[in-house]
Amino acid sequence: MANKRFFNIFNLTEAEAIDLLDTPCDKLAEDESRYVAASHLINFPTEASINALLRAIDNDDDELDNRIVRRKSIETLGKLQAKQALPAIRKCLVEADCYTVENAVWAIGEIGTEDPQILSEIAQILEREGQNHRVIIHTLVKLDYKPAVDRIQAFTESTDEATASAAISAVCRFTGDYTQMERVIAFLFHPNRNARRACIQDLIDANYYPAIPSIARCPVSIVFRLRAIRLLADIGVERGEIEFSEIRSSLEKTLYDHPQDLELIHEYDLPPTMEFLIRQLYETDFGLCYLATQTILDERASEAPAALSATYEEEAYNDYGAHYHVMKIIGWLKYQPGYELLIEALNNREPQFQKSRAAAALALGELGDERAIPLLVACLETKIWDLKYAVLMALDKLGGTSGCAIAANDDDWLIRARAAI
């Protein structure tokens, strides 16, 4: 199921987007973008949109601005699962541009095919240098093309960890022998951030439930861990292969997201200054943010509130990464003057700040201020499952009981399961 939070970010009608996509590059105004149009057509699964995207693929002008439009058109057709686009996308498999080929392979995976000729063509791309082998491997597994297993086997020793992870997982799935999955789990704690993120996807794709406790300890953003545990829980429970009680602890540790529950892989070579620790909260590698958070809590708790308030005013209010960590730390410090800030974050409906809402709910639980109870309960009316789950965890601490009654009738089985405890 696609996450549609960001689909409507451009204000164009279908007709406007098609007109824009059809406009020749030399007729575009400086601020007009066919790339935006190609992205935006994801909102319109119609013949007219699909035909416009197919016309865009036919335009083989090799200028950068057109190249990126072609790639985006291929991707959008994939997202729309437009079967009629398969022949046009297939032709792109032999092109020289590696990203066009990558998008074509990915789109065919989304559309689906059992045509052995197309599948063989995709498998042959594994022989090409400079190609994203990981995407090809994922697609071959998704389309269940077992004849590719020997070719994929060769990538299990790739020096690129993300490729090796995909290959190991693929071979396990094709052969039914999962003994090598421990190697994929080991990548969860690799120094390379990309390897850590990539192997999570491979563990999801393999429905490898035994990895759930390890995923919960992986030092990457909560977004990746939570998505993995949720997807694995959904499929595992639906198939009767795991139960809620088996994943609850990992899920709640992940939502709580305290660095003490993570296996941190970074360390400081010198005692860090407070200024340095605060800057670390803005890093895009969340492993570094978690180490800074742990250090602040362990060693700088007394000076932290002032430093956090200052950085929030200056920058963190405007940076959805640091914003999240500031909310969490306010909670763990039980910093009562942070109450209003947490309430504001709890009700912030901008999608890029979504993970701060659950963080704020849990932090309000840490503060113990009962004024928050009705505001938390109100969040149970949203569609955001992690926020609702976090609200139930926070209400456990605050003593509110009305939340469970509401959550007991939630559409989401996971929320109902939590409410039933």
Binding site: N8, F10, Y35, V36, R67, R193, A198, T284, N318
Partner: protein, 164 residues
């Protein structure tokens, strides 16, 4: 960190040979362009906030975000919040200018990025549009010398190409 120099040495070492004359030419070329790259790096660093904000504003100005409740940029006052990502790419471009290669972008910006954007349904269009605007906006000699602008723009193009 991958650069022209490390790439040449790694390739030579892997083959157990000395760098060839064409290897040395590519290193020489990189060194000759170093002054322009460092000028671009310095100017970009000095103006990062303005460059990133201007680029981001431009990308949402033309088509506009929907202002429905719960949509990105629901409120006027918070419209600059995606700046985090634009600044991140600009910082990596700055590193690439200093390194003289695309290693920082490849390793920290692009590797895995395309997969994450697809998996999480995150939109690339705002970033691509912001970077395209930054490329159009750069002006020599107002912002930097012609040669420095060439170096800067080529990295903007590289990023646009890799993200899209």
């Amino acid at each position: 960190m991958k650069s022209v120099v490390t790439t040449v040495i790694a390739a030579a070492d892997a083959a157990g040979r000395f760098p060839s004359s064409s290897d040395l030419e590519s290193v020489q070329g990189s060194i000759q362009r170093a002054a322009a790259r460092l000028e671009a790096a310095e100017k970009l660093a000095a103006n990062l906030d303005n460059v990133a904000k201007e680029a981001y504003d431009a990308c949402i100005k033309k088509y506009g975000y929907l202002n429905n409740a719960g949509e990105a940029n629901e409120t006027q006052v918070k419209k600059d919040k995606c700046l985090r990502d634009i600044k991140h790419y600009m910082r990596l471009i700055n590193y690439c200018l200093i390194v003289g290669g695309t290693g920082p972008l490849d390793e920290w910006g692009i590797a895995g990025g395309r997969e994450v954007y697809r998996a999480l349904d995150l939109p690339t269009a705002p970033y691509v549009e912001a970077l395209r605007f930054a490329r159009t906006r750069g002006c020599a000699p107002r912002d930097m010398s012609t040669q420095a602008l060439v170096e800067y723009n080529s990295l903007l193009d590289y990023t646009i190409n890799s993200l899209s």
